[in-house]
């Protein structure tokens, strides 16, 4: 092939690999704690035992063939779909609420894409070493070392991905049995397909695509931007302090002020003496820089090196930023080592940064939007908790049979029929009694089932018919059917049903 004749701008950008440097600090600690907690929950929960009479002893089991969801002591049936709706609503409002307050906290600390990418980067770091080593390995020719290290990394990623998929499937079947069946080739085809799809997608998303998921694929990151307000806290670079009037500048060699503040904080006399020296030295250096109009940013580039999405936070707030706070940790480390004050990169609000007299950053929740979201959150969570706490042990659906609405019997009486469906949501078999109020005694005919026993998780159908004389129907428009679980009169539930008659238009 011949070299081209002219330059052409590529239609799409090739991914530039990101090699993040590891960093220590409070945000890193927080991220690690969230990761450990989330992984512990996700990977261990399917293995948590929970004693049950009529189902596998697994604390959390989504029993799809049985059409029920076993969540610790609670059995949720498809009829309770309103809970799912409430849960989704709460999750959405929580996201809006938190984003309005502290920006994309979900993206930075809790999103599974962030968690898995973080873990995959940690694997990469353990096998291939710190950032310079990884960059060197990337540029290196395909020799033995590169093949081994990259192979090991990808193998480890695949292993984690596989177990991620396996764990997901374990929520849908009794875990110990499923894992055994899976490896002996006896599990359902759906299990193999799900595990394969999840293994592949986890590997691709957390290992290969990483920040591209957040930048190009994920809609949440984008629409969270519109929830930002000037008061919203976000990871910001204090440009006024960092750039000064003359811009940023590296610290000139020979200044010798690189002692960590934390180390010098020891309480013995020598250290105190030295700390004073160091402090005064760094204060002098800082004053020196400020006199020349140079900002506090020493342009070390560490904030860029630690960034998992490969941006420079000093360019300002940008859509790629997932607000993970690692650049804050990086910058604070450097500031400490120079003895400069911390917080050149910090959580702050746009409004505060732009004000002539910036104050200490704080949460500004007294805004209509935040209060509105908060109220919605409290109301919906309260309703969900109330609904779960007070749900009865059974569901009932009483429908009047509409074909025909009424029947005229041979002696002129009028009969309406009703179908009663009772679903037992309790953990054991239960007997129910059906009674009617508002109609004369003996008008209600339940066939053979004035009482019916229903197995747990099952439904029972009862046909009820009500027979009234034409005179009785003159004034009657409806009556109440009451279903009472025997032995639990407090859970009795009533349902008002219509009674139709010829020519009667209620």
């Amino acid at each position: 092939m011949q070299q081209g004749l002219e330059d052409q701008v590529a239609l799409y950008q090739k991914r530039i690999p990101i090699f993040t440097r590891s960093v220590k600090g409070s945000f890193r600690r927080f991220k690690t704690s969230v990761l450990v907690l989330a992984y512990a929950i996700y990977f261990l929960l399917p293995w948590m035992p929970w004693s049950r009479a009529d189902a596998p002893s697994q604390a959390l089991l989504f029993d799809l063939p049985g059409r029920r969801f076993l969540i610790f002591g609670l059995t949720v049936y498809p009829q309770d779909v309103i809970w799912l709706a409430l849960l989704l609503f709460i999750a959405a409002i929580l996201l809006f609420f938190v984003t309005g307050l502290v920006g994309r906290a979900f993206c930075g600390y809790f999103c599974f894409q962030t968690l898995w990418t973080d873990f995959f980067i940690w694997i990469e770091y353990r096998i291939q070493g710190e950032r310079p080593a990884r960059v060197r390995l990337y540029r290196q020719a395909w020799d033995r070392e590169k093949v081994l290290k990259l192979g090991a990394t990808h193998a480890a990623w695949l292993l984690v991905s596989f177990w991620t998929g396996m764990t997901f499937v374990a929520y849908f079947a009794y875990a110990p049995e499923l894992v055994w069946d899976f490896f002996t080739g006896q599990a359902a085809a759906a299990a193999y397909i799900t595990v394969a799809v999840l293994t592949f997608s986890t590997y691709a998303a957390a290992g290969l695509m990483r920040e591209q998921i957040c930048t190009y694929v994920c809609p949440y990151g984008r629409f969270q931007s519109v929830m930002y307000e000037p008061e919203t806290l976000a990871v910001h670079y204090d440009a006024r302090r960092g750039e000064g009037t003359q811009g940023r500048a590296v610290v000139r060699a020979g200044r010798g002020i690189a002692l960590e503040r934390r180390k010098s904080a020891r309480a013995d006399a020598v250290a105190t003496e030295r700390r004073h020296q160091v402090l005064s030295q760094s204060e002098r250096a800082l004053a020196d820089r400020r006199n020349q109009g140079i900002g506090d940013c020493v342009d070390c580039g560490l904030c860029v090196q630690v960034c998992p999405v490969g941006i420079d936070i000093r360019d300002g707030l940008q859509y790629k930023c997932i607000s993970c706070g690692l650049c804050i940790d990086a910058c604070n480390t450097i500031m400490d080592s120079f003895g400069f004050p911390r917080g050149l990169i910090r959580y702050d609000s746009e409004k505060n940064l732009a004000s002539p007299q910036p104050v200490k950053a704080g949460l500004h929740w007294k805004r209509l939007k935040i209060i509105g979201y908060g109220v919605a959150l409290v109301l919906m969570s309260g309703y969900l908790a109330y609904s779960v706490a007070t749900r009865g042990s059974f569901d009932r659906a009483v429908t009047q049979i509409r074909q025909p609405l009424y029947v005229v019997l041979s002696d002129g009486d009028i009969r309406n029929r009703y179908q009663i469906r009772i679903t037992n949501k309790a953990g054991e078999a239960q007997r129910y009694r059906i009674t009617a109020t508002g109609i004369p005694p003996h008008a209600l005919d339940l066939g053979n089932f004035s009482e019916i026993t229903i197995k747990p998780g099952h439904s029972g159908l009862v046909q009820a018919s009500v027979r009234l004389t034409p005179e009785q129907t003159e004034t009657l428009r409806g009556f109440e059917l009451t279903i009472t679980p025997l032995g639990r009169p407090e859970e009795a539930r009533s349902e008002y049903v219509r009674f139709d008659r010829p020519g009667g238009t209620p």
């Binding site: 092939m1 011949q2 070299q3 081209g4 004749l5 002219e6 330059d7 052409q8 701008v9 590529a10 799409y12 950008q13 090739k14 530039i16 990101i18 090699f19 580039g301 860029v304 090196q305 960034c307 490969g310 941006i311 049979i401 509409r402 074909q403 025909p404 029947v407 005229v408 019997l409 041979s410 002696d411 002129g412 009969r415 029929r417 179908q419 066939g447 053979n448 089932f449 019916i452 026993t453 229903i454 439904s459 029972g460 159908l461 046909q463 010829p502």
Partner: protein, 306 residues
């Protein structure tokens, strides 16, 4: 760390030059696109081997996946994958899933079925489907029938009896309701008298004098109504002669008639022209014995009893 400047690259040419300097650009497809294309080719090859694909000779290449099913003659057949075979195999599964219930239906008495809550639930759902497929065209979806054509199954008035056994008999054998046209043997005023008598028996407004004449005629050998409808006009279930004294009407559309006069006219019309349309087909042979049993219990629940 990333370098955000837009990457540019030089355009390649195919390497040929015509007329000295005429060259052709080579703009290759994006790599991801090319590999996706290769992946679809691989997918297609796998798909061809598993599922029916190419015409071949007089038939076609059936693929590796087979479907085994039992056809309606009870013959087990294995066929290369197709949706019809798949449907039949699914049907086999559905029948197998229903089998325990139908076996139970077979082994239990009507009363046992009606008393068992679980079986009752099965009757209500399976019976509903069977009824909708076979019975609803005449008797309507809810079994309410059509006055003047098809009996209402939800009331308590049964032409041939509403016990389990009688309903079963009706289903198995079918029924044929018949009444001669009395206009051929009786005069118009005689028919009018009979209509008034029937109206009086059913508690409808009537001309008392005509009703008295009708009473005599009803029990006379001239009209001989009592042969079928009984001396007390309450009908005879053995031959399906309806009870004329109750409030339920099948042939004469009395409920829809406006005014006392037209109600009597509706009755008169039936007596005059008779009827030969009360035909219910026999279902033995069309439905299996278990299906008929399910329908028996289902219809009994609609309004059976007597």
């Amino acid at each position: 760390m990333s370098d955000q400047k837009l990457q540019s690259h030089t355009v390649q040419t195919t390497g040929h030059a015509w007329d000295g300097d005429l060259q052709e650009y080579n703009n290759p497809l994006p790599t991801w696109w090319v590999y996706t294309f290769y992946a679809t080719v691989v997918f297609a090859l796998i798909y061809w081997t598993i599922y029916p694909s190419w015409p071949f000779g007089k038939g076609w290449i059936g693929g590796l996946s087979d479907v085994t099913y039992v056809n309606s003659e009870g013959v087990t057949r294995t066929h290369s994958w197709n949706t019809r075979a798949l449907y039949l195999a699914d049907q086999n599964e559905a029948v197998a899933a229903q089998k325990p219930y139908f076996d139970k239906v077979d082994s239990m008495s009507y009363q046992q079925i009606a008393n068992d809550p679980e079986m009752n639930g099965f009757i209500l759902s399976a019976g509903k489907a069977l009824f909708a497929d076979n019975c609803a065209p005449c008797h309507q979806a809810g079994g309410q029938g059509v006055v003047g054509f098809f009996p209402n199954l939800t009331d308590d008035d049964w032409l041939y009896g509403g016990s389990f056994e009688k309903i079963h008999e009706t289903l198995v054998q079918g029924r044929r309701g018949y009444m001669p046209a009395f206009s051929e043997v009786l005069a118009a005023d005689q028919i009018d008298a009979l209509a008034n008598y029937v109206a009086s028996q059913a508690g409808l407004a009537n001309d008392a004098a005509k009703a008295r004449a009708g009473d005599a005629l009803f029990h006379s050998e001239t009209a001989a109504c009592f042969y079928c409808h009984g001396v007390d006009a309450k009908g005879r279930k053995e031959i399906g002669a309806p009870n004329l004294t109750d409030k339920v009407w099948l042939w004469a559309n009395v409920p829809a008639a406006e005014g006392d006069e037209s109600k009597v006219v509706a009755i008169r019309n039936v007596i005059a022209s008779g009827l030969n349309k009360g035909v219910m087909p026999a279902w033995a042979g069309r439905l299996s014995p278990e299906q008929i049993k399910v329908l028996t219990v289902y219809v009994h629940e609609l309004g059976g009893g007597l």
